[in-house]
Symmetry: C2
Subunit: 442 residues, 2 copies
């Protein structure tokens, strides 16, 4: 349960119900076993599936080793209705999955003319000679559905394993094999795999899912406010989940069946009423994208002055495409001199009450707004740690200032976390102050 806590009783119930599909995801990669990279495919695929009502039952990852891949697929076929593998479909001797699985299931491979033409064309348009070995990517099992790969050479493959030799109940399993690189996997999954699943493994009468994103309210308090009022809908089949990350709690509402649409709509209305302006967005919204959108709609501009967050706020804002229309400048004033020079903070203020103070945050915000001529300016000063704390200003102390036409407000917070979490949570609080100011919320 890394970095999050969750209480998803009704999802659990669904997972345990005999009617649910057993979906197993198998990722391959030796560097996963060595802990050199994080398995981002797992999260991405699970989220895509869950948002369409397909909830993964088990995630497995093994090395790029024939023995381990084969064993994992065999065990998955013994209990899963749907097995999805990623990786090892390419042309090199490293890329094993297709051959191994074909062998294991006794499939005959045939050369697919369309795939072969695609592979040849891929090299031709890039003016590169086609290695002989690249041709193996055109070999597909008899009867397999070929999933086109516009961003690479190896196609995805999907097959119903009808005579499943591994499953004690004799039921068929669907096996979907996808390429490893994200830029090939992601579009193929959205364009080919999800439509296929809806066709061959349809959910009974629909699925609806809605995630409401909140900040400034803890998971327990959110639960306290909405758990009771939602109980009637939960009893009727609504699935309610929470996911808490630093500075953020997601509320996930979903339902299966003919009533799904109504259940989720009624639940959303209740949650919106109970959590009110703590809800900053839905589904894929991030606080920074919401703020950029609000500013863009209003043709308003923003500058940021950062000390302890060290550029984190500017970095997050500029991750949003189109930020340049409203974000004018970020001033990372990491020293007293730069706070004076760029923001006009007074030497007396820096001397006493000091660089980490309400007064400095106020002068930073005021200065950032003035020198940049923006509608809004955010400023943060604090102690990120691990050192630099004092008894009166311990590590985690932070002051956040916000200047706009109506004046300057400063908020003091205490975020006693590790350095990177401190920066993220403080940035979150600053962006939320701004969002509330733009919307005229309390």
């Amino acid at each position: 349960m890394p970095g999050a806590h969750s209480a998803i009783a009704s999802v659990r119930h669904k997972l345990e119900s005999a009617l649910a599909l057993f979906i197993e995801l198998i990722n391959t990669g030796t560097e996963l076993m060595l802990g050199r990279v994080c398995n981002t495919h797992q999260q991405w695929l699970c989220r895509q599936l869950a948002d369409c009502g397909y909830i993964v039952t088990r995630q497995v990852a093994v090395a790029d080793s024939g023995r381990d891949i084969e064993q994992a697929v065999r065990e998955a076929l013994a209990h899963a209705d749907l097995v999805i593998t990623t990786g090892e479909l390419g042309p090199t001797s490293d890329d094993l999955t297709r051959d191994l699985i074909a062998q294991m299931l006794g499939w005959t491979l045939r050369e697919d003319a369309t795939v072969l033409a695609h592979v040849e064309n891929f090299f031709a348009t890039r003016k590169r000679p086609m290695p002989v070995r690249a041709k193996v990517q055109a070999l597909v099992p008899e009867g397999a559905i070929v999933l086109p790969n516009p961003h690479g050479t190896a196609p995805g493959l999907a097959m119903e394993v009808c005579l499943n030799p591994f499953r004690p109940d004799g039921k068929p399993s669907w096996l979907v094999m996808l390429p490893g690189p994200a830029r090939e996997l992601h579009p193929m999954f959205v364009e080919s795999v999800l439509p296929l699943l809806r066709r061959v493994l349809p959910l009974e009468a629909g699925f609806v899912c809605r995630t409401l994103k909140t900040t400034g309210i803890g998971e327990s308090l959110a639960q306290e406010r909405i758990g009771g009022p939602l109980q009637r809908l939960i009893d009727a089949g609504l699935e309610l989940g929470y996911c808490a990350r630093p500075g953020e709690v997601d509320v996930r509402l979903s339902a299966h069946g003919v009533d799904a649409e109504r259940l989720v709509r009624e639940a959303e209305a209740i949650v919106r009423e109970r959590l009110g302006s703590h809800i900053f967005g839905s589904d894929d919204d991030e606080l920074e994208s919401v703020v950029i959108r609000l500013l863009t709609e209003r043709r308003q501009t923003l500058a940021v002055a950062e000390s302890c967050t060290g550029g984190c706020i500017a970095h997050r804002l500029t991750n949003v495409p189109g930020a340049s229309a409203v974000f004018r400048a970020g001033l990372v004033t990491y020293s007293n001199e730069t706070k004076q020079k760029f923001l006009g903070v007074r030497a007396e203020t820096l001397a006493r009450p000091g660089a980490v103070s309400e007064a400095t945050a106020r002068e930073m915000a005021e200065g950032a707004r003035r020198v940049n001529g923006t509608d809004y300016a955010l400023a943060v000063t604090g102690i990120a740690g691990p050192t630099g704390g004092t008894p009166t200003k311990p590590v985690g102390t932070v002051f956040i200032g916000l200047a706009d036409a109506s004046g300057i407000v400063v908020e003091q917070n205490f975020n006693p976390f590790d350095r990177e979490t401190f920066k993220h949570v403080t940035a979150q609080q600053a962006l939320e102050m701004l969002r509330r100011a733009i919307l005229g919320l309390e």
Copy 2:
């Protein structure tokens, strides 16, 4: 194989050898199945283990569901020498692992007086009443090794399953159950689990591992340069692995056995000779931490002017504790006006050749150094995309300027990636330019 490519033939060989331990990691968390969070425990634990010579064979994750946890543990015990679980050891009805596993293996639970005292003390020192349910955390299986949890209440548990009812070969398995929160898991793993593993599952005659971190050289080229010269050591048992991420390739050298120390030392010397100054650090070094260390050692200072990276460089630098000693200011000049106002870029330069040009990068770097009075200044200007490209300056175009006492150099690069990868790779190239300048490298 998310975000990385790897060719780890010799590690694979080791994984397939009959002598290797079969290690299985089981993480629990419904939000993992929903794709709401990334499984960072997997990477952290695998890396800790691999760096001590214990290479995980299979990673499994399942929901917080009794049925799924039990099935995963049962299947793991059927083939693994070591099974590590995380999560679900706490006091709530959500927390299932200990009870389920005890039941499954027919273990008797006893109340451990030390653990009970620890739990009571935990609440007492926080002046919070102890919930009745918290006492269950003091229940431990007869014969289990209790792993203390100084940062939480639920202890870790380790047991040798001697009469393993699930394993066809009748061999015993070790089962280690750890708490879910990272702040409890990490110290417990380092302080208690690794020493225990070295004692109860010792590797034959040692293990040595060294990761050399490189930038500015692709994986294929690195392979071409070192693969041949290392072959003799590989034949003698050296394990060689690569892990490529945007802007970075790790070379991992490891060996088991009595010769391990010598093999890795000889290999490191060869790699250092062949890859030379492309190696920026080892093991846990990051380019930003290396740069901050070099500047700190030399008592030199740095300012950064960022346009298209939007604060990413400042953010990375200020993630390093102690950065404030050398990092003076970051100026995120996202508009023409701010480039003029804060950096003194000339209006004529911005008009022609334009904001994204060699000349603007040069004036930004020169201005950032002058206004901040630093030894070095970095500046970047480019087109992050997804829009804003032109035929002559397509998305991905970037100019990086570096100013120091000897003058100004500008490098032009082309990084045609998605927006966030563009920012990361460009930041990487800028930090590498600075590293090379500090060290007086070509």
